[in-house]
Symmetry: C2
Subunit: 362 residues, 2 copies
């Protein structure tokens, strides 16, 4: 989708007002509903999708007039971003659009909590990813391995990016980021920086011809999107490495089929072929990890695990076994616990055996 | 300090036990006290220093026996890290040293909260930075600009590192990280990634011949240490850019003279010549920022600001004026608020004027 196109769509919103004014009608447009009720799991495509319920936002309506005005202000700021070819943050959009209405003490926005949802409204209304609107999210990641990116014109050979690697920004769309070359066999998407550091330090990616990618916690949008692009454009399998707890399962599921909250984005963010390489609830036994390394499941872990068991995308027999086994053991395990055997066990024992046995879940 | 030296010091601790056993004495060693009472601001060196109070840790003492054993276990794991030439995290040290004592149900450690302070004890006892003990902290940063690093043997030209830049790891010591070349005139240490992104996207570092460095929030150890090394090894001034709130002042003060909690590290982390380039509490007027962009100071902001006013390192007349002006206005301002004028005001208006006028605080 070319830049002009997003700008045209933004300007199109203003046209709605002008057209309505000419016809002396109430300016209004439809916004897709962002709620659980308007979301479904597409079994065939294996992603969480948005359904097509919409709600009307009109100007001549006491309850909507302010929101309508706010939507126009934000759309105007977003159009400015397109024209200036610059990117910014949610917070700066809030500040940019904040002012006091003339001859009053009323502000256009009093809090960022008012402008954020307007940006999400515009994303779904205009069918533009937040990145295409030039709005960056929080959170950065790192990448090393057998891949060459072009970042803002500079070629970045991630096999020569040291131990710490290149920074993955929050916006990784064309033309800012291009993937020039990728000779790796697969991508290992790693939840935590400790394991990324371990594997990068040990040059795991060299021996196993892969790419190491981390977002230092739940992968931020840029990391997910880059992973998806490597998967799509270079047909590389994606293996996800997370802690063995409900949060780890959840991180994997968001990478794989998208999230309920941002179902609209699954289309270009989700990776339905991603595999879960661990930690599995069966790993502590397979890898002889002492039980005292496990952490007792808390009440909210148990509640969360039961919720996961009910999601349509966790209905496969293996997944039901996986989650139920965690519940039965009453324990969760962190990847860090593998260090109990030896600081390098992740690199030299755990992952090589996993890869050899193709011991992962789909 | 060469690697052998740290290992020798660790092994030296074990020798204490052996020597004592031979002499049938109680094994014991002295640990410097890590507390406010044992800290002082050195006016001449302009850093927060540790004083020389110590406390004895001995084995034949019911209240200390477990802690003594834990200290030995952690020292052993740290020696293993030195020999294996690998780095790890605080959490992995905890897992590595955790086991159940033979013929009992007692664990060596039940929680990371037990092993972390032992590592800090060893840092001060052995006079080794955490990085020299090969233990990495959380948090990574990014760097772009006119500097060439060598990261694990790979040369990284940060003027060709795209918009997002090279990742700054949590350990930036020799020989892992070397600074090969630095033609920049100064370092701009930026609190938040939004402003780093803005300035990197606008290639501010090219026009103003500098280095942009961020830690995405309070700078983590790696970012502070790299900044200090650039300052020391290449004699580059450091300018710190933070929000105008007590937290921003605090971040600056930690960069400049170190922190009370980790006074031991000031020696090799603090940058007494660092300057505060903004946001100053006088900037909203100078740069005509509407008052409605300010955020009302909360009670804890006011308390914190008053604490800062009392610190020996904030006694300069200009600093007292700076902080009192914030208190008098009752408002704090984020850097993001500069976007109200124009998304690029930071790059094209605010910073160029600051640099031209040398408008900063020492």
């Amino acid at each position: 989708m070319a830049r002009e196109s997003v700008e045209e769509r933004l300007v199109g919103l203003a046209d709605v007002v002008i057209e309505a004014a000419k016809k002396k009608k109430d300016p209004a447009f439809d916004i897709p509903v962002r709620a659980l009720s308007n979301v479904a799991f597409n079994e065939k495509r294996r992603i969480i999708e948005m359904k097509d319920a919409t709600t009307e936002r009109s100007f001549f309506n006491l309850g909507m007039a302010k929101k309508f005005m706010q939507t126009m202000l934000v759309a105007d700021a977003l159009a400015e971003l397109q024209r200036a070819e610059c990117t910014t943050s949610l917070r700066e959009i809030y500040y940019r659009t904040k002012h006091t209405l003339r001859d009053s003490s009323e502000n256009t926005f009093d809090d960022q909590a008012e402008s954020d949802p307007v940006i999400e409204d515009l994303e779904v209304t205009l069918e533009a990813l937040r990145e295409e609107l030039h709005v960056s999210a929080e959170g950065r990641g790192s990448i090393v391995g057998n891949i060459t990116l072009v970042d803002d014109g500079d070629p970045i050979d991630c096999s020569k990016a040291g131990k710490s690697g290149h920074t993955v920004p929050s916006i990784v769309e064309e033309p800012g980021i291009r993937i020039k070359k990728c000779s790796a066999d697969f991508v290992l998407l790693i939840e935590k920086s400790t394991q990324f550091n371990r594997l990068s330090e040990d040059k795991f990616w060299k021996r196993h011809n892969c790419i190491l990618l981390t977002g230092n916690g739940q992968p931020p949008r840029g990391v997910r999107r880059l992973c998806r692009r490597i998967h799509d454009e270079w047909k590389k399998p994606v293996l996800v490495l997370v802690d063995n707890d409900p949060w780890g399962y959840y991180i994997y599921s968001v990478v794989k089929q998208g999230s309920i909250n941002l179902a609209f984005e699954s289309e270009r963010m989700a990776i339905p072929d991603a595999k879960f390489i661990g930690l599995s609830s069966f790993d502590p036994e397979k890898h002889k990890m002492p039980r005292n390394l496990g952490i007792k499941l808390k009440d909210n872990d148990i509640t969360r695990a039961k919720e996961l068991l009910a999601y349509p995308w966790f209905q496969k027999k293996e997944w039901q076994k996986e989650i139920k086994h965690m519940l039965a053991s009453g324990l969760k395990y962190e990847l860090d616990a593998l260090a109990n055997k030896d600081f390098r066990y992740l690199t030299t024992g755990y992952l090589p055996r996993k890869l050899k046995d193709k011991d992962w879940l789909d």
